[in-house]
Subunit: 365 residues, 4 copies
């Protein structure tokens, strides 16, 4: 109810602050009997980790995950899995000025209004650092879904500021610091270098997909699969827009174009983005998200102080010039958390039973 | 868990099918002592009602709401409020063909895959008719929020298919069948008439806002106010995209532009759309949604039958050529349900206490 | 959150007041594909119905249930099932005095303190009449559990006031108005007649059991099967005590006696009452509950009025001299609601998988 | 949903196993602004700690709590509070035999049936050691309730096996290892010494109370305050029975006796145990629980092995001969967790408003 738990059947409770001793999460509801060790989780954390290129924050965090509970002899037992990540690089001194002023675009003002106090160290609870436990939990979900249904989650960069990025191949994504699905990222690098020199930041657009999604996931009326995807994505720091399938392009589409025809070989298109009536159809889930430019920039901004007086602020410290860059693995993890939640709900209500509709979707479950 | 309840502290449980005897909802958690009668709810239902112009479905439903419980001597008692709406115009014969074929863009296929059976009468549970109880519940939420905090919810049409609509004034919205904030809707009428003659349908883009929103609503980490707004909006039938504030435009914005400056007189702009770090700032909530074109069109479409064989389908019946038109009051209701939920959560955890930050936001609570 | 929903995966949301137009519930999460009609539910309601003997309240309520949603062609569809029961015999005039005084042992005082107002008509929401929708929902749960696992729920009277009742056979239960498992209830009838003449009321002790319960139901740590049973039973109007298995007798037992030995043929005893570590073992669930004497009696009682002044009150009207009598079918229904909830949770997390431990428990799933 | 979270508004998620690296919990929903340090929590943990007398298990655990998150400059911030307790004394070798046999009265069999595997080290997740995080979370709840409403929680031993214990004064409770409210515990000590020599164990009966409870807590219909108390208490390891107020004694009471009269000075008695209609009246909450004898005894017991073959088992290791002894502080903590949950719910729905009924209850809020 206080908003720190994601999901109910596969429930991830997130804790910690940017500059406290540790961050982490407790996963309650993971099915028993799955082999699980830190080695299953660390690779996803490493993809999200800061300090890996000059285009992201230079904070050095090892982000090493430790499994504190929930496994026995290398297998999940069905009991809560506590994942702990210790904070190691907390340069709190960078944040001294922030405690007395409100940074434009930051959560400072809202937290103070909500709670009557706030933790100014690195944004405290509002820091994007808190996405690390989400990624860790997502890795557990991904492994189970992959083993159970062959579901695979992927994400890539579509646009960085003014630079639109085409799609060449998923194979390129791990080979550049932008998660871009293209071979040549020199234009992007130049763009980012200019931006950094200008002391400014930019937005981004990310694509996230899931393939091999079981048919029948999602709950009418309110807890539609796409509704929960939108919730997950908009809850990611800095996200300002979410699209499923054709998204905003569907405004100017005609019904005769938008509705995906069914053929004996499957759907002829995917304007729906993998859901109909809020329930998965077995097509790929297709999600696109808009991420705002980082609010922490060294360009001076107008603001007020704690007494409501006009002043200016420059946010020093080590910040991502484009927070969208590191968002890709996080968005993948969130999509996995939505899918596993609905897979377990489907098991509960419908017992995994599926109408034998051949041949569409026959390969999904 | 089966997705038919919206909210937890102000929990709306929705029931019924398009062509069953009745639809309705149970509201659990409405604060006691508020004056409430059917007259508070009916106006919002009437705004959503079908058959009010030639541009929407010609189904005739009175949509008369009946309060079955939860009030005594005209006041809410704090116990569950059951709202019942009887179905009166169910021409089931229009739907005979649908039971054996899958309509492109419809939930038929997904429901059958999920449950192993489905109710083909008018889409059964997946019908947009089930938004009526949501609107009714929203009316209760709106009254309470208006009385308690002066919060006001408004929506208007921004675009219908290819026709973009400017913003002149909220005053125009109730004066035309499109919820358009402009005086002259002749172009829109002509566009819709051509579309209907062509037997096709189109998408739409809607804007929804809330003003007078208390500061401090929204829960980090996952249940951010904007995350729950995205969940609510994407869960509305036919919605394919959701934006908060600058939305997708923030991709090409710079940080020096996007982050809204604070001044002693308030925020200087509203790219954030009313939330920072997922918590309301007291600025207007600004939401924009994309609605796909109606899938029920009389243009023949390729599909398959229950045996997986190729066939074609024409969806007769009485359908909205642009479902987006009637979506405005529904989106307003959903936004109200999100806000009341978070207002009650804030009362629970923080006891309505708010830091006395003058003068910004000082008028909100 | 406001306490009117029982369960989460098989969620029953109860609404209505004793003297409003109708009472009922919405079941969300019932598995699809089960045959269901009013005829499956009415018999359990009839067992709970008032006015069936001189030993219970003479209020005449038909308690006829109507299914408003959630079925199609006689089968559940997986969507919410709304069950409606209209109130027909509301003699509100009997309750005129109550509005200005607090009845000892009644909820009047507590409701007023909680909500700042209350509905005095027949106890409003606190009336035992609100157990009717619980019984109706329980009937749906019982049918599914019976079909799926062969689970059977039974209850009987163990004690009425000073009269302890032995156990002869379940067969006697439906043959007397006390749900007593004995052939001869003449002593009980005489006792009740004397009590009624004295204008007083008495308590009761009920036994409820479930046999054919699947192994492995119940969730550590907090949501143990027995914890949820205790919650369900203590939530039944007038219940003051709950025991599982040996109950309070275990205080004076030794460990060498209490712990049920396991043998190749099964457990040698059932002090545990069907759960170990909060998880079902396949043994019968054994529950015993204490029900307080009816608070509505015609003997004058000391109390205060709304101004806090000393006064007396006599509760006229048509009341059960022993509310425990009609509690048996309600307690059975509640036990069924607990079991189905945990059965669905087990399907979600463990996928119905059960370790092949032969021969103990092998017949249960 | 998987049962490891207690509460929803003050939600305590418990993790860890008896012999893993650590146990702990995450509290989500604690109101912000309360001073909190480990020193507020440690005393309650110390009261529950093993190894403090010869009458409890000799396992040596420091049970030192560490606050990992949720506070800043010594105050709660409204964000999740992670409490960590490291396991230090895990003599796993004591449990080698258990992995292949089922201990009568233990959760071994049920866990294996539920999950298909189990952690045999010290009972893994089913160990009473997991009550330590509950006690820690309870300490946080107690501090807030004490500060906010003056609510005080107390518990004492009522009976140990065959030895009934009178009530002299709360002052004696901390002065003996049994939490007995009497000055002279020599009879108890002799009884326990004989029991230990006999290699057997015994049950106990505990009383738990809360005074200074605000009026109006508890939610009709299902989530009554007493229902949630029953849930909490029955979920405590080894509890087999729960009573509120008069409890099972109410079976033989008359209505003219049981219903507590109201006078201008307050209630004349407390058969109700502090709730009416499931809602707190401002009287003391009075709860009594039955705890079964420890199942781990050195007397040989009949059982079966993993292959279903008859065998015998002796449970060595360091076990409490009467688990009831250390249950007192745990039961107090659970009662506090129930009360804080309902206090926050009351704030949410009713905004802390209370009808000004003088003089009854006027001192409570």
């Amino acid at each position: 109810m206080s908003g720190n738990t994601f999901g109910t059947l596969f429930a991830v409770t997130n804790f910690g602050e940017s500059h406290g001793p540790a961050i982490g999460c407790v996963i309650d509801g993971c099915p028993p009997g799955m082999e699980l060790s830190e080695a299953d989780i660390q690779p996803d954390l490493d993809r999200r980790r800061p300090g890996t290129s000059r285009h992201v924050t230079q904070r050095q965090e090892e982000d090493k995950v430790e499994i504190l509970s929930g496994t026995y002899e290398g297998k999940t037992t069905g009991t809560p899995i506590c994942l702990l990540i210790r904070n190691t690089d907390q340069r709190s001194k960078d944040y001294s000025e922030i405690g007395q002023k409100f940074r434009p675009g930051h959560a400072d003002y809202a937290y103070l209004q909500k709670y009557g106090l706030r933790d100014p160290r690195g944004g405290g609870r509002s820091s994007a650092r808190l996405t690390a436990p989400t990624v860790a939990a997502g890795a557990v979900a991904r492994k189970w879904l992959q083993q159970q249904y062959g579901t695979v989650f992927r994400g890539c960069m579509q646009q960085v500021g003014d630079v639109a990025i085409g799609f060449e191949s998923w194979d390129h994504v791990p080979n550049n610091p932008f998660f871009a699905p293209v071979a040549d990222v020199s234009e992007l690098e130049a763009y980012m270098d200019r931006l950094r020199k200008a002391g400014d930041s930019c937005g981004a657009r990310i694509r996230v997909t899931a393939s091999g999604v079981p048919v029948g996931l999602g709950e009418p009326l309110y807890d539609k699969l796409d509704a929960d995807i939108a919730y997950a994505m908009m809850g990611l720091n800095a996200v300002k827009g979410v699209e499923i399938g054709a998204g905003f392009a569907s405004v100017t589409q005609r019904g005769s174009t938008h509705g995906d025809s069914l053929t004996p070989q499957g759907f002829a298109s995917n304007n729906a983005g993998g859901t109909l009536g809020g329930i998965s159809t077995g097509q790929d889930l297709e999600v696109s998200i808009a991420i705002k430019p980082t609010s922490s920039i060294i360009t001076p901004r107008d603001t007020i102080d704690m007494q409501g007086q006009a002043t200016q602020i420059v946010t020093k410290g080590r910040h991502d010039p484009c927070v969208g860059i590191r968002a890709t693995p996080i968005a993948e993890a969130l999509l996995a958390l939505v899918v596993i939640e609905h897979a377990l709900r489907q098991r509960a209500q419908c017992g995994d039973v599926r109408a034998p509709l051949e041949p569409i979707g026959s390969s999904f479950l």
